[in-house]
């Protein structure tokens, strides 16, 4: 059995770690590229969203490397993503690409259900080992999230453009190389050292912008045309409302791990703007805008794939949140266009706006 999975940012580090810990062979698809998108677009329904197209591309490219089993998250509710695993498998079957499909549906009641669903891959391996592997994967996700968050702070302050990006890849590779849970603390320390070694002027004043919206376009840099990187270059420290470890804990572990940031903090403040689950992360997006406004952020950017229903609901509510809280919010819709110029134009204009507001506030405050 050679297991593959779709890309979503650095998720591969976590999944690969978990599966290899169980001695399961893994095929990581090549990073999302123009080719991935071309393959995906060619074989996907035109009205599907960008994540589906990139998933299909990932699976075709993974098959070229010998993968035979897909492991993918599922879901239920108004977002189409819940069906993507099955729909994608049907599309692949039509292309004569036959995979074994294992869908990790989120557990309804207890984390034990997750263990049952994963059994198709883990076979007769002892439960205790499987639980250890899940924990190992989760710890890797947390380690990667930590260095990613370091990069958010360093990038706008780096002295040599691109130094943070190179360091981040090295740091992630360091975590990837850890083969056992015991090795993670050491790997994480080395990763932190790599990040801290990036020459940067940490006293440089920066703007703080929150990235909110749909999880895939937030996490996969290919799908969001490297928005975090461009904001960093424009002197903006970003914070992403959705980190992988948070999602794993919230959705797959049902909040088993305590004392870590959870999307509950957003849901609590989404009311009175949106008091109901609308699918995907629509409710969290609205809540996150409120939450970041209260945290004193300078602005927020919502990213979503074109035709994403839950985020469209959120988008129509955000102007009200923005009006009430004074937090400028911009929405960027991601689709097949890979040109960065259009996005940079919008980012620059948004950052200009935030700078002017900040200047005005400071002038008023100095009175």
């Amino acid at each position: 059995m050679k297991v593959t999975f779709p890309h979503m940012g650095y998720m591969y580090v976590s999944l690969k770690g978990m599966l290899e810990y169980l001695d399961i062979e893994v095929v990581v698809p090549p990073p999302c590229s123009k080719r991935t998108l071309d393959l995906g677009m060619k074989h996907s329904p035109e009205f599907a969203c960008l994540p589906l197209k990139l998933n299909i591309g990932n699976f075709i490219e993974a098959r070229e490397l010998g993968a035979d089993t897909i492991m993918m998250a599922g879901g239920c509710g108004p977002c189409r993503f819940g069906y993507y695993a099955y729909v994608e498998n049907e599309i692949l079957k039509d292309l004569n690409i036959h995979y074994n499909l294992v869908v990790l549906e989120p557990p309804e009641k207890h984390i034990g259900e997750l263990l049952g669903r994963i059994r198709k891959i883990t076979g007769n391996r002892p439960w205790i080992k499987v639980i250890k592997a899940l924990r190992f994967g989760y710890l890797k996700a947390r380690a990667v999230d930590e260095v990613e968050q370091m990069s958010f702070q360093i990038r706008p302050r780096e002295l040599v453009r691109g130094a943070t990006d190179r360091a981040l890849q090295e740091a992630v590779d360091e975590i990837e190389r850890a083969k056992k849970p015991e090795e993670i603390p050491f790997a994480l320390n080395r990763a932190r050292e790599i990040m801290e070694a990036v020459p940067a002027d940490m006293s440089r004043p920066v703007l703080k912008v929150a990235l909110v919206g749909e999880i895939y376009t937030l996490l996969e840099p290919f799908s969001n045309v490297n928005i975090e990187r461009h904001l960093g270059y424009l002197g903006v420290e970003v914070e992403r409302s959705m980190m992988l470890s948070q999602w794993i804990n919230d959705h797959l572990f049902m909040g088993l791990v305590k004392n870590v940031p959870s999307s509950e903090r957003f849901k609590k403040v989404a009311s009175p703007y949106l008091c109901h689950f609308v699918g995907g992360h629509g409710e969290e997006t609205v809540g996150a805008a409120v939450w970041y406004a209260r945290q004193g952020f300078d602005g927020a950017i919502q990213v979503l794939p074109f035709t994403c229903m839950p985020e469209i609901v959120a988008q129509s509510i955000l102007p009200k949140v923005s009006g009430d809280t004074g937090l400028p919010v911009m929405t960027l819709i991601m689709d097949e266009h890979s040109g960065e110029a259009g996005m940079i134009t919008r980012l620059e204009a948004f950052i200009d706006l935030l700078h002017k507001r900040k200047e005005q506030k400071e002038v008023l405050a100095s009175w």
Binding site: K34, V160, R161, D165, N226, F306, A341
Partner: protein
Amino acid sequence: MKGYLGIDVGSVSTNIVFMDEDTNVLESLYLRTNGQPVVAVQRGLKQISEKLPPHTVVRGVGTTGSGRQLTGIVVGADAIKNEITAHAVAASHLVPGVQTVLEIGGQDSKIIILRNGVVTDFAMNTVCAAGTGSFLDQQASRLNIAIEEFGDIALRGKTPVRIAGRCAVFAESDMIHKQQMGFNLEDILAGLCEALVRNYLNNVGKGKEILGPVVFQGGVAANAGMRRAFERAIGMEVHVPKYFNVMGAVGAALLARDAVSRGVPTRFKGFGVADLEYKAGSFECDGCPNLCEVIEMAEAGRVIARWGDRCGKWSNALAAGNCS
């Protein structure tokens, strides 16, 4: 004479203005980009230098529009700014107190909300270019009328036909149906203007508070039919400023003036760049799986700029001075 140059290189047009030190626009040019931004800029610089009196001193140059980086490198710009900021700067300079800017260009449309002279919100079309200048251009040529006449014909429409404006593809087929049913051209064009305005207000203006004074600018503002449709839809007077089609360039010139205001000497390379040979080339870097398309610009055979590399390997190499 002394003054500032503003250059706006857009998808459809390349505009250049020359502004004197008191911010009066003395010369303005509107050229088609024709997909060759550098050639268009060179041609524009040549034309404008011929119009200006001899011994004109350019104190600063600003570039904007989607070709701003490229042009900035070619001419040696003091300010390189995105077109949203440039349009806002120009509008608030020419129409003091403006609170809403409606802008429709060749490939994009935007709305800018200003309060107390500062941009407080803006939006720009993202995935769809429906309702922009290119679409009107295309429809005009399909109906075999000159784009310049479009607005006046639309104004003659008494009972605008309802046309589905949500998507340009649907709008076109809807228009064809209405033509075949026998509606007259005036009413169809007036209906199209209304459909585009509806689409703009729903998609770009979504949820934004439109307060007067309202300024309508960009190439499409030349279309009187569109202006009337906007006035009807928002129930307010819509101003079209004198330099409506070169507002980006006006903004760029104003930004250049700011950039050099503290006695910084200009980086302008002179009108001579119009005669230099520029060559853009690109290659795919195979240093990592990103396979970035790196673009390089050569001036008279020497590489002066590279961009497009995500890691900075190529652009940094040039900045360090070790380019091949």
